[in-house]
Symmetry: D2
Subunit: 370 residues, 4 copies
């Protein structure tokens, strides 16, 4: 391990790798410390929807604005990463079909109707595009901009590109301790010690420990999600089917990814029998023919949630050398590009929108000083 | 491949391997021709219950008598195979707890009450032995003799021991054609040709083709069964839980094997989403806490059924050099020892019970000459 | 299963699926009969190089001409399949770097030097493009047109698109027997019987049986190939590294696929320890740093070889209703498009180059009438 | 999580579970905190040899005495665990055949010749018992007492039995911090906080962090070992083959486990291509026919080494409430029973041999106070 870095990043998931990529590209000497393997935990468990519309509460929301900004960043990022890493992150076309079973659900959806990116379709028109869908729906909102990517490939491409720009990525390197002296930050790991000017904590739900060790309270907790994949034996789905935080996503390998349960405060990264049953039932409700398809895999991931469901992105209130980029809940894949850029801009002293910094600040009620 | 054998056996599952073992031990030169890998299809998919009581309709049944005889053979076989192959086939203690949810089910079970091997237990006494069981039962019949084994290990031990007695086992060797000349039987495979004096077809549900090629009608069809295993995070189950052909079996690896669906005429050896859901629902009905356990694997196997659910064991009605040992339905593991002995005895001209030969004869209505 | 088809195809690998796709697109009613799962055997085992230059003996060869024609077909096919199936078959850029360790190897390679598609690079220039490569080479021939695809995705895309054009694909449906009456061909399978006007045998190395049953000799035999994949922890390979039929191919998942051994007459579809060792040694000779990378998977496939290493593509010499498309040896992925078109053109009576039909005819010395 | 325990144990591998089992059986209220899943890391990676003779330097060694004592404990433990957990830990017969290729190796081995448990066999007599062995050996030392067990099953059986005696085992519960106040020890985890009277650190190589946090220096470092398993297609091995810390062990599933490389200071828990190659080469040197066998799996584990290769077993020199049981290097499976007993005896104030406490003390040169 080299001795001194401009920036050390704890956590090699998609958030940490996005920060590493953007910082290295901006000329910083970056080290990423990953306790296990890059991108193999929460990142790999995600379906990869870029659900700026689908996951938000409406377009008034700060989440919607940031999500849309990040969706736009994916346009350029897809091209850049192909060039820099040789990896195609599989940004799909098609977007999300957010279905309604009741008038109430329809009305909730249609609050987005003034957006040019939202289109209400009656059931028969939904069926034309998605013949596999259940007859029980009354219609759906089509959001073509909420496409999806393959999360592990995004993370891997960021990794490759970051390394190309000089970043050092250490797998199997858990951090033992962070020491803060006036002159430097010292990060002690199982396989050695490094110093750095700035430090970014991006360990998803496992970041809570660092908040505490660095003198901060926080509200991070896991919301476990269980997923199942099947081999699609029928025609490919042209749109992601989405209802009440559940979804069926087409991969171009021919698999469908179905998710996901919501189990707060469950730290187990293995799926239970009951979780798998719940996923199957939901999927069959949306697309009855899926029950005839061959099961492929079951897995689980831990979404890092905060009490207001917004991430922590910003500086330590009392030690500006320390930054956090954690707590992205259901939206880590969507928000990875914008998060990487914010972290970079904070470190290289470029302008970041005040409103965003305020919304995601560490010092908000959930993360005040102890 | 050697040129001439006393006996060629088509099919390297537990039935074919039992025949091979018993014949080789009796001094015959045996070749087993397996299209894929030994024991990796229907044999491996089975839970391994020796359900002479559990699977039968009552003790009047020929199935019960043969099943009991085969259970007894397992006593000696377990010891012999340990000695001959070094493999412990993991014959468990405990037996089956066949539960009743209604008086009607209780009455059906209690038709076995005159048997010394059957014991009716009221719900509270069942709970003492199986605290994990649902509160909804009214009691259960405990059959301690219906223990279980690990099917792949039985098959592998028979394989090792058969080879020790001189048998030749060829994996990845599908049979193309069987020619019957007066002087010899010739078996053509993808990797060469052999001749043999006697031939035994033991390819499970895939035996149907040979019935036809050898001029016989038959009633073989698959009944697909889907299974799921979980990691038991609670105390080990002391007895197999059994209800309506569904079961939860404790493996000493700490896994529970749960099965199985019943899908006639389905040839797919992969589990579907709907099949997995059905298995989970049944398991949770029997043992609610199982829903909290981590899922391990899902798989499927094809039970070879006949129209009367009895196997075909015996000679071709018009060509005594050809024998069949197929169609063991839900009971291939239970009946493997007795089937191997019957095939051996027919070939070496030892006495076999007339009643059994009659019940399992090829020439019964399902398998008359075309 | 529907009763009558224009064309039945035995075998659901990439060759059978290409035939099915082209025929269904041309308006034929097609049934594909696959004994196991579509594309999961030899097709999935392949690395997917389109090695028209790399695999041939030189440009005089008929193989080179047909291979180049098929490479060209991939251009349009990639676009069509994306549109028809939604699947991106991952045609890579970069091509093959065919390395030379000796002057003799250089001279052999440089026989292609007059081709505009071939470029000789001295060692230092190879290193610039492939810093990972061993120092032991003296140079390499770069063939940018010999790109690669992901074989399973090609097969799956052909499948999806064929079904869209009306083809029926039956998995888990082994063929028992083909009967040839004057009025019709009857194909008997484990799960039912169909009739068809034309029949195409495309079962790879397992086609041999049908040659024999249909009265033809043949020279089909397996050449087993064992492969290993690793997670590339360094920069992505910009070109496939190739030497003496061995190769290292970059997948955009971040894996490297390394292959393959050559074991004639070995029917086992599982890799041996010795095979894996040989693959590792060869890979390390080409790219020493690969030894530090984490192993992912090992597998094996059976290349269907003929004595002259050319495929059989054409009609049965005595029954023009029966066609063969088998024996593609190391080049099934490359030749799938052209093979599908030839089969289609024969069946719909369009012109096919005489020279090709002659080279691949069933009636050549290896496949004369018995 | 319950609030207060007599003993908290950090680490749910075989060492932590043995301590938990012995303490719970002695009436203590025990909590085990495991960061991931019980027994799935170093424990599962081990082959399970109880190599008191094979791994030691000779019988003068303290290791030999402790190892022999632990071997003896396995006799009773096997029976107890079968009874308490229902799990058979598969203690094999046969022992180890430690082979010699040279006179020098023979002489080194024969230093054990005065032991009744050691028997020198000339090459021809080795061949009688192990026909698979290479012709290159000049003989072997047979140590029938160095049998093997299945490590995961031992750990699982200890777990089940410990729970039966009241222990609480928490998976997916990494420890964040240990606070030492006068009145109590407080252990903070990701999912809550507990207090305890005594604390035992049994996290294998990951224990180093706790030494440091608790004010101690130490010499713990990983020695990574890579393993491969194959399906034994020949007769079962009657004895483990052993040479220079490499071995081939027969499992009764029919698999052979081959290990293992020795890579100091490598923290990666995934096997590399070069590691797998080295294992294959060594195996083939010992048993040439193994190269023809089908590969099953590759994996890696981290042996926790200290500078004198002895474990740390004992109390913190300045805080007697804190104990360590870490650093068992190649011998965690062998030493698990004796380690569990020593920890129990220290905590319940029973006598432990002074000599052992001295040899394994935390305060020896490698672990003096900072």
């Amino acid at each position: 391990m080299k001795e001194h870095y401009d920036v050390a990043i704890i956590g090699g998931g998609i958030i940490g790798m996005s920060a590493a990529y953007h910082l290295a590209k901006a000329g910083k000497r970056v080290a990423v410390l990953e306790a296990n393997e890059v991108g193999k935990k929460t990142t790999s468990a995600a379906a990869g929807m870029l659900g700026a519309h689908a996951e938000g509460e409406g377009d008034e929301d700060i989440f919607f604005q940031v999500g849309r900004a990040s969706q736009e960043l994916y346009e350029k990022l897809t091209v850049d990463l192909q060039h820099e890493s040789g990896i195609d992150i599989r940004k799909s076309a098609g977007g999300i079909m957010k279905v309604a079973f009741t008038e109430e659900e329809k009305n909730a959806l249609c609050r987005m109707q003034h957006l040019s990116t939202f289109q209400w379709l009656e059931a028969n028109r939904v069926k034309e595009r998605l013949p596999q869908i259940t007859d029980d729906i009354i219609g759906a909102g089509l959001i073509e901009d909420d496409v999806h990517v393959e999360p592990y490939l995004v993370c891997r491409a960021l990794w490759q590109a970051a390394v190309r720009y000089g970043a050092v990525v250490q797998e199997f390197t858990p951090v033992i301790e962070v020491k803060r002296d006036k002159e430097a930050l010292t990060v002690k790991t199982t396989s050695g010690t490094l110093t750095c000017r700035d430090l970014t904590v991006a360990s998803g739900v496992w970041s809570g420990r660092f908040f505490e060790e660095l003198g901060l309270s926080h509200s991070l907790y896991p919301v476990k999600g269980e997923c199942v994949s099947v081999w699609n034996s029928g025609p490919a789905l042209k749109h992601t089917i989405y209802h009440e935080h559940c979804y069926i996503v087409q991969r171009d390998s021919g698999k469908l990814v179905i998710g996901a349960t919501m189990k707060p405060d469950d730290w187990q990264t293995v799926p239970t029998l009951g979780g798998v049953e719940a996923v199957i039932q939901k999927a069959a409700q949306l697309m009855p023919s899926i029950k005839e398809m061959a099961i492929d895999q079951c897995w689980a991931g831990l979404r890092p949630a905060t009490s207001d469901k917004h991430p922590y992105i910003g500086r330590h209130p009392e030690d500006e050398r320390i930054l956090f980029a954690s707590g992205h809940y259901r939206n880590g894949i969507l928000l990875a590009p914008i998060t990487g850029e914010i972290i970079r801009d904070l470190i290289i002293n470029q302008h970041v929108k005040e409103e965003w910094l305020h919304a995601f600040r560490i010092g908000r009620k959930e993360a005040s000083l102890v």
